[in-house]
Amino acid sequence: MAARALRLTLGLLATLFAASFVIFGALYAAPGDPASFLVGGQEDATPEKLAAVRAAYHLDDPFLVRYGDWLGGVLHGDFGRSLQYNDHVADLLSSRLPTTLFLVAYSAVLFVVAGIALGVVSAVRGGRLDAVIVAVSTLLASIPKFVKALALVAFFGVQLGWFPVTGAGGGFTDRLYHLTLPALALALGELAVVSRVTRQSMVEQYKQDHVAVARAAGLAEHKVVRRHVLRNALAPVVTMCGLIVASLFAGTVVVETAFGISGMGSLLVQSIDMHDFPVTQAVLLLMVLAYMVVTTVVDLLHPLIDPRVRLEGSRA
């Protein structure tokens, strides 16, 4: 158990290290001089300005020294200065991070609850209802997030006027209200996978002897489903949900742009439009970090959720 945790953590660190190297090194892959790339978005790229950027970013230092400095800064929470806002990148991030975290958490709650519920209904009722659930959830997964987002805006925002179409709102309830449509746009596409994994896992449990025993003992069907089938079926569902949550961070790029929410995702798009590379680097690094940490935690938790995995591991 401890050895596995150590191995996973080391793997995580190695991958993060490599990813940070890619994100940092991308600057040097750009065609032309890194200094002129960094001021690329600005028209007044005088030689003095280039020299200033060169000095500010220590571009004359060797590559590995620069990388070391940058990584050292990042580990202390210093992502450098934004070229456009002339502000510390860390301050920009900290003002936007809560919105994105809220959106991801809200969306996670939506798809986990709805996805598992649909999966249970599919497994218990089966037949035509199952086919309808599969068809609708697959359809939702086949529509790009930005189309779903704008369709929600068009219908619930503009036509019906039930929800605001832009902004993130302040305060908890207002924010919940503002982020309902964005969270839905993010969550709807994930229902297909979650409901199918739930259904499949439950169907496998139905065949097990312990379910037959529970029925034979005269347990009410809803109790059989809840205590025996669903509970035993949950492990793969939890793992899958964890992986999806990890990938939701990347999904915020599109959804925040569609709803005009100022979060991490829209910051990434803006920073690219404005050639603000330090900000791009920081947001990408944080998103990769969030993704990798969540997936590793899911891996680590798997044997805790499902002790049967632990048994198999020790036997092997």
Binding site: T15, L16, A18, A19, V22, I23, A26, L27, A29, A30, P31, F37, A123, R125, G126, G127, D130, A131, V134, T138, L139, S142, I143, P144, K145, F146, V147, L150, A151, V153, A154, V158, Q159, V165, T166, V203, Y206, A246, S247, F249, A250, G251, V253, V254, T257, A258, L268, V269, S271, I272, D273, F277, T280, L284, M287, V288, Y291, M292
Partner: protein, 311 residues
């Protein structure tokens, strides 16, 4: 319990998502009956498959004949008809500059379909080559390639593509190459897994004994033998690739104005949405969704016929 047995094999199913299950007779029938069996199966094409393949054929036709059949030029500006609702003049309405949406969506079909095809072709060339080399060579080559793949997989969704675009600037070519780079590890991983199994088959050893070089075996025997499976896998990827390309254009990193690529059309139509004009977003958005859904329906069928999902 009885309800659960609905999905048991052997039961004839008209469900497009599970044609594999309905293929029971395929293994049971003898080769002599192949022709009859095939025609019987063709008659059993479910309705959704007919609609989907018909729609795709129409879309391809529209992309080819866009300049002939569209009523207006895609960039003909008519400020007098800005944000018009659908009527006899403009069957699907107009956008903010008064450009006819039907003409634009027809002209956009070309770039919207060709760009994903091109990038999928590029990704499959790179991915199949890398995956085959990794499986064939093994050892440090395999280890190195799988480390590189791991790092690429550390970037969720389109983030790797966004990194490339942020460095090399936006534009359709950059977006296509970047997406191809991002999808090639996926192809490489799949290729490696099936090539490993194929490599251990006796016929490969037979070629080796005959003195055929490793490169020749890979290029002339191994990859061609994997082709059906690979094709089946790539067909299933197409919907996802098309969505990725459209998303990139929507973010402004893919096709650039005045192109009427569908993702870009959605981006340009978004401003009109808050004014209550839904058509500029709904028309291209629906086009993307319909093509992806249709392709998924057809793709699952093709993929099953090619046996990519059974192994």
């Amino acid at each position: 319990m009885t309800l659960l047995q609905d999905s048991q094999p052997g039961r004839p199913s008209s469900d497009p998502r599970s044609p594999g299950r309905a293929s029971g007779p395929r293994t049971a029938a003898e080769p002599a009956a192949t022709r009859r069996r095939r025609s019987a199966r063709r008659r059993k094409w479910p309705l959704s498959l007919w609609i989907a393949s018909g729609f795709l054929a129409l879309t391809a036709l529209a992309a080819l004949l866009a300049s002939v059949i569209s009523p207006y030029a895609p960039d003909a500006i008519d400020l007098g008809a800005s944000l018009a609702d659908p009527d006899a003049n403009h069957l699907l309405g107009t956008d903010q500059s008064g450009r006819d949406l039907l003409s634009r969506v027809l002209h956009g079909a070309g770039p919207s379909l060709v760009a994903p095809l091109a990038l999928l072709a590029l990704a499959s060339v790179v991915g199949i080559a890398l995956g085959t080399v990794a499986a064939w060579h093994g050892g440090w080559v395999d280890a190195l390639l799988s480390r590189v793949t791991d790092v690429m997989f550390a970037f969720p969704g389109l983030l790797f593509v966004i990194l490339v675009v942020s460095v090399f600037g936006d534009g359709l070519t950059t977006a296509v190459v970047a997406l191809a780079l991002a999808y090639s590890p996926v192809v490489a991983k799949y290729t490696r897994s099936i090539a490993l199994a194929e490599r251990s088959k006796p016929y490969i050893d037979a070629y080796r004994v005959q003195g055929m070089s490793g490169t020749a075996i890979c290029a002339l025997r191994l990859v061609p033998n994997l082709a059906p499976q690979l094709l089946g896998y790539l067909v299933l990827m197409f919907g996802q690739v098309l969505m990725g390309m459209a998303t990139l254009s929507y973010l402004g990193f893919g096709a650039q104005p005045p192109s009427s690529e569908w993702g870009l059309m959605v981006k340009e139509g978004q401003a009109a949405l808050v004014q209550g004009a839904l058509w500029p977003v709904i028309v291209p958005g629906t086009a993307i969704a319909l093509v992806v859904v249709a392709f998924n329906i057809v793709g699952v069928r093709i993929s099953d016929r090619l046996g990519a999902r059974e192994r």
